[in-house]
């Protein structure tokens, strides 16, 4: 079906495309009404987008992990909390059959301060560390392909999408972490979440050196998460059982979807972002319904004599109802399409400035289209009583 067929398809009864002709009869009015609906739709899209972006930002680190199974302390209530387990427990995983590789991921959210070249002050950053000789721990471009650079002494990779005040986006050559100078050998793009403003990736050796002044060696460093890859064609559920069995009871093993769901549940339960943006979407819907009601009601009121004439010459109410509802849908689409296009620009601009992963998805498109059509149909259904009540004998 092409776009040009649409008005024809919506023609009730196969005669004159009444809904379409009514819609385009007055170009100025069409512009006015679609602008009204478009901004209500934009309001909903922006609020829905923020809600998604909030979750996506907090899930981005977990999603970037490159593994089939993840082992960590059962007392971890979210991924982003320092709660490591003993290194000797980690070693048991390597011997489980079906495991292709297991790499320890070390992390700290509250112990590393990056001196920003922007204001020369120390700022808390998130740090991920791993053995650069081992198998990759992150899927992220810029980490997986540059991890060999971390073999050199005192080298780090920085997140160029970190908050601007950290000065990681200006291609810095050198940086200072906890007072010690480090060489910046590359960058990746991960973005901040609502806890960390920026991220630094380093080798396990440097991690141990900066944290304990070198007293601890990587071989004994407590592990935040074990990133496990299975051999090809290995059954994930069965392997999960085997890995769990090899570990002491204080540790849990999760698949990647389980880890993402775990993190999502934490965010959903504890943040007030969802209700705030839900309220925004709801208001957008209410405003949109009201605007569409005004548009449809006015249009019906103006054309009441014509509708009465149609009734007078024998058209049934069902025809008129279909016509009005078709016009409601067309009006909704006339507002939706420009709003959707405008929203792409809004997402892009706000996403870049606020470092938020605002992205138009099929799901967002579907939800917002559904809400738009729902508000227009609701408004049409409310306004239609006038047409049904129209008495041809009384109108003139």
């Amino acid at each position: 079906m092409t776009a040009l067929d649409l008005p024809r398809r919506l023609m009730p009864g196969g005669g004159v495309p009444l809904a379409w002709r009514n819609l385009v009869a007055d170009k100025w009015r069409l512009l006015r009404s679609s602008a009204g609906i478009a901004f209500a739709v934009l309001l909903m899209l922006v609020q829905l987008g923020f809600e998604r972006a909030f979750f996506d930002a907090s899930l981005s680190a977990v999603r970037a992990l490159d593994g089939d199974l993840f082992a960590m302390n059962a007392s971890k209530y979210r991924f982003g909390t320092y709660d490591p387990f003993a290194h000797r427990d980690f070693d048991a995983i390597r011997n489980v059959s079906g495991v292709a590789s297991a790499a320890p991921l070390y992390a700290q959210w509250m112990a590393f301060w990056w001196t920003s070249p922007v204001d020369n002050k120390p700022h808390l950053v998130r740090v991920f560390a791993f053995d650069p000789e081992g198998s990759p721990v992150f899927l992220l471009a810029g980490i997986a392909d540059q991890q060999s650079l971390l073999k050199a002494d005192d080298t780090v990779l920085v997140d160029r999408d970190s908050r601007r005040f950290l000065g990681m986006d200006g291609d810095p050559r050198e940086g200072k972490i906890n007072g010690q100078t480090v060489k910046v050998v590359g960058s990746f793009a991960l973005g901040p979440d609502f806890m960390s403003d920026g991220t630094v990736v380093m080798s396990d050796r440097l991690f141990a050196k900066l944290l304990s002044g070198g007293r601890e060696r990587p071989q004994t460093l407590p592990v935040e998460t074990a990133v496990v890859k299975l051999k090809p064609d290995e059954d994930i559920a069965a392997a999960k059982q085997l890995v769990s069995a090899a570990l002491p009871p204080g540790l849990v093993v999760m698949t990647k979807p389980e880890l993402v769901a775990f993190e999502r549940k934490f965010q959903a339960d504890l943040s007030s972002a969802a209700p705030i943006f839900f309220l925004g979407t709801l208001v957008g819907f209410a405003v949109g319904t009201l605007i569409s009601y005004q548009i449809i009601y006015t249009d019906l009121a103006d054309r009441l004599p014509q509708y009465a004439t149609l009734k007078g010459i024998g058209y049934r109410n069902a025809y008129l109802v279909r016509s009005v509802l078709s016009q409601a849908i067309l009006t909704g689409l006339a507002g939706y399409i420009p709003a959707w296009l405008l929203c792409l620009a809004v997402y892009r601009i706000i996403g870049q400035v606020a470092l938020l992963p605002l992205r138009m998805t099929w799901q967002l498109t579907g939800i917002s289209l559904f809400l738009t059509l729902a508000m227009c149909l609701l408004a049409g259904a409310l306004a239609i009583r006038r047409v049904i009540a129209a008495d041809p004998a009384e109108i003139f």
């Binding site: 009404s33 007392s75 909390t81 007030s272 208001v283 005004q294 009601y297």
Partner: protein, 396 residues
Amino acid sequence: LPTDADDPPYLQASAVMRRLRVSLHLAWRILVYEKGRTALALGGVFIAILLVFIELGFFVAVPQGGMLVYDHMRFDLLLASENYQYQAQPWQFPRERLTRAAAVAGVATATPLYFGGGYWQDPKGGFRLDFFAIGFDPAAHPFAVDDIERQRDMLEEGDTLLVDDTTRPIFGPLNSGRELLINGRRMTIGGTYHLGTGFLGIGVAMMDEANFFRAFGRRNNPVNLGLIELAPGADAGKVAAALRQALPADVQLFTRDELKAHEDSYWTTRTSVGLIFGSGLIVSFIVGLMVLYQTLATQIARNLPEFATLKAIGYADIHLAAVVLIEAAIIVAIAFVPATAAALALYAMIRSQTLLPVMLTVPHLLGVLAAVLAMSAGSAMLSVSSLRRADPAEIF
């Protein structure tokens, strides 16, 4: 019609008044003529104003989450490290700076505060949660919170803490007597207090400084913040200047106003909070403008024949414009009252849910009223352009 220019000046003025009265009368008659339509217009404008109130509330209040705990502390000046970021990342400075500050003329007291991020776990196991602890000397009364003052004896018990009652449910029951492992050390909940966790974290607790030092393995030096109270009658500006003179550059001093400006700007500009709610505010203004314009344009379009008649009998465009402007102003003024009432109710709801200080201040109220009146005047002027086209000869 005789022109006003022929009249003496005092009569010209009264002629203007007379015309204005006629316009006012006409606008009122239009509004009461079709009550259904007017109710619809009022509903639309009501929602538009409410939308602006909601977005403004979030935009103003969310950054204030950063001030919540400060607002309940007793101090005239706040002493902080030169590296101070925001409340939850205050950095630290030598206790000696407080001793030096206390010796400055006009300073009554200089009280240290200790901040720490710790771990909270049930002795039976389960999640090990991050919480935020504040340590202080209860005798110094740094907090103006009744619950804390009242439970001073409890606070001074060994290994006891008071917990904010808005600490999230994931922390489990907060009943007094519950035993906990705080950083691995056995402590007991002595009671709860009602303040709000602000942006300190998802769980906040207060401790006597002796308990804090034991739980966090710290000493009384360095300190995280210093609360300075002035002697009665001391001039805050002069004392602040003297303090800045007396203290080295590793600390900085904030008056209450400066602190509020600092925290607000941290949350609005450094994080994405300002942008998220700022863009919500802008979109809400545009949607409000659309609703107003849609409503007014519809009203005028419906009365176009009548306006054309008025033109034909000699009314100038400016008088018709006055009618439209007055009509818009009346609609806004009437819709503003229930919108304000609804906003107050919504704010109270948000306040009790989030403990964010969402307040409807007089400047905000007047600001929204002015903005909405300007928006309605703007959309009235836009819709008046269609009036100018009202050609008496063509309309009928």
